[in-house]
């Protein structure tokens, strides 16, 4: 421990991406350890557009563990936070900061308290897997602070205990969460299938869908599905294992046709088992259905699929375009059907704005001038659904967690360890 003073604060700031499953995780075989009923595969999203930044700090002056999420203090008493803190502390090692003259031994960590500040660069309420990026970042940052020697896969098994899908945010690119067999969950962890450079044609457009409904949380939703759906076990045991192998091969070969077909059918099957739950769970709404129809109609009008869709536990569509060309056409089609409610285009298309520019969309008048998608020509003039999409985020597959060494990006004050 520090020899002479209680005044030092040691800090680490890290950034962790969110991820979107293309073979879905739905259903736990162990609620406490968060062990899933099947493997899942995800694509990591570019942290430039969607990520969590977390600063963790330790100081002998702290008298309890505390956490601030998006600037507001939240309780750490929940079992999930406690699991992550306990597991990380148990793996802490000696730390020395010669500049500050601080030395913390392995044993000291059990007596020291931490402060944690976390911030999402996207709306938490938008249903964009903020808890995945959040727990991944918490575990990753604490691991760095405490000089934990475990690799990211081993860290992922800790993050998993915070939020199942968090384990997949410990890597960039394409990630598999292996369900594991052990009762203690030690082999239920994430591995990287390929990094983000392996398949860098892909472009991702997220449609954040307006919703008036309060949604079932994924925790209680998947518990109810496990308890009541007569289709879930068949999905988990018979359908998913084959799809995992096919999806791994599709990613390996950058085979967009297979990737797209597997992604869409697995998203639909996940929502099917939600509907087979008693009482039924509806995450998709009419707008979600419309987006699916637009994509399906377009894909079928082309020789090969152009875009895959997938929906998590909410109405938002995550659309994965085979390349930049397909993404520009996609954004034109989406803007045709879902024009913005206001003139503020800048807040209607966020993230990588160059996609919209490439699509010739520089202002509202460009949206108004969009022709109807060719695949619906000669049919009855199609309806438009102004206001049914809140905004679009343009992004791409991205990298895994990283430490931010620039202290100006820290969320805690280096003097007192409190939020800046």
């Amino acid at each position: 421990m520090a020899e002479d003073s209680q005044n030092w604060v040691l800090m680490v700031t890290a950034q962790t991406p969110t991820n979107i499953a293309v073979i879905k995780y739905w259903g736990k075989r162990d609620e406490t350890l968060i062990l899933p009923v099947n493997d899942s595969i995800s694509v990591t999203l570019d942290p430039n557009h969607l990520c969590t930044t977390t600063t963790v700090a330790v100081s002998p002056a702290f008298n309890q563990d505390r956490m601030w999420l998006n600037g507001k203090e939240i309780s750490l008493s929940g079992g999930r936070f406690q699991s992550c803190l306990r597991e990380i502390r148990a793996r802490a090692c000696d730390v020395e900061d010669t500049k500050k003259g601080v030395k913390i031994t392995k044993e000291d960590w059990s007596k020291l308290h931490v402060h944690i500040a976390s911030y999402n660069n996207f709306p938490t309420a938008a249903g964009l897997a903020s808890s995945a990026a959040g727990f991944a970042c918490l575990v990753y940052a604490l691991g760095k602070l405490m000089n934990v020697k475990e690799d990211n896969s081993q860290l992922s098994a800790i993050a998993r205990q915070g939020s199942g899908s968090a384990c997949r945010s410990l890597f960039g690119g394409f990630v598999k969460w292996i369900m594991g067999k052990e009762e203690n969950g030690s082999d239920s962890l994430a591995v990287q299938l390929a990094d983000e450079k392996h398949w860098d044609d892909l472009v991702i457009v997220i449609a954040v869908v307006s919703s008036r409904q309060k949604e079932t949380s994924s925790t209680s939703g998947m518990r109810e599905t496990v308890e009541t759906s007569l289709l879930l076990q068949h999905r988990a045991k018979e359908v998913v294992p084959k799809r995992i192998l096919q999806m791994e091969e599709a990613i390996r070969n950058r085979d967009f046709a297979s990737f797209s077909q597997l992604t869409c059918t697995d998203s639909n099957q996940f929502h099917a088992v939600c509907l087979d739950t008693s009482p039924p769970i509806f995450y998709m709404n009419d707008t979600s259905h419309r987006i699916i129809s637009i994509v399906e109609k377009w894909n079928r009008s082309e020789e090969a699929p152009q875009v895959a869709y997938t929906f998590d536990a909410g109405p938002n569509a995550v659309l994965i375009a085979r390349n930049r060309k397909a993404a520009t056409i996609l954004i034109q089609k989406l803007l045709y059907y879902f024009p913005p409610n206001s003139d503020d285009l800048d807040s209607y298309i966020i993230g990588d704005k160059s996609i919209a520019k490439d699509a010739g969309i520089n202002g509202i008048q460009d949206i108004e001038a969009l022709p109807p998608p060719s695949e619906i020509k000669d049919k009855i003039p199609s309806q438009k659904y102004k206001g049914d999409v809140s905004y679009f985020i343009c992004t791409r597959p991205g990298r895994g967690p990283a430490v931010l060494s620039d202290e100006s990006q820290a969320l805690l004050n280096s003097e007192n360890g409190l939020p800046k």
Copy 2:
């Protein structure tokens, strides 16, 4: 054949109910013979509110088979009509009408042509199984005209070849369509489980839901599900057989709790396999989902379920209330959330209007005065969805096919066999 004249016309008019499946039929193992992948069970709806009336006529003056549906001539060249006509003709027997001095022998029928006029007392486009009632009525009426000796179960195997669910409209009350094992379909037919008097507490409210979407026809929808869903076979082979036994027992014992639970979960599972189809099929929309939520919330707030819901290949809700008391509360709740778009209450609640009267609804002002359902009290004031339901039909389980002897109800002119 008639000895001396070509001028006679022999006619029969029959009325056949529609039915709503409570254990669903979805998926054929033989497309031509219309053989299903699982048994199904339905409730026959009171023909006073929903039925098809069909007049069939024969005359040596007719030079071809012709049909009029709701006053408009339609083609009989389709395979399904031809199957029904061929099968019924093959079973025709001697017919003698002494009053008219007409004698038709078994052999004559193959040379005689028929005229058919059919009329639904409900909107054909409303997605209320008009083809079920229609084919059942066609086969039943022709069977009477041609003095076919087969019983209604045997006739149901013919109606089945027109429209699968038509076979269940040959009986009143509670009906099971046995899928059968024979390749020729001879044992795929309907049997009555109990007549409509067996459980006469039940009251049925149908919410005809406004929809802007064109729906997938059930014929192509179920074909696509059979071809692409990885969950359908599990449903057909593992789930439905057990549910059929449980549903038969629930009906036998008038056990509404079991009946309701089976009805709701089976409807949801049918829509789940539709969603598991590639491309996915959505029959329910946001309004359907809302109705489910209203019913689920209410059922869970009571000691025992009050209402079961079931949805066919469209967004309309068929709600089965345990008794008249529950039905009046149900109609209050539905009118609270879904007030009519216009002041014309008379066309907003059709069928058995006494249910609304019992619920104290005599005019628009009574709807406006309805208090929020008690189960949502203390929560945020609930939204209303004016215009999202087109109209309600109040009805009950009803009787099977019947011959209408009153000639004024015939749809064809007894002189020339043309539509009146």
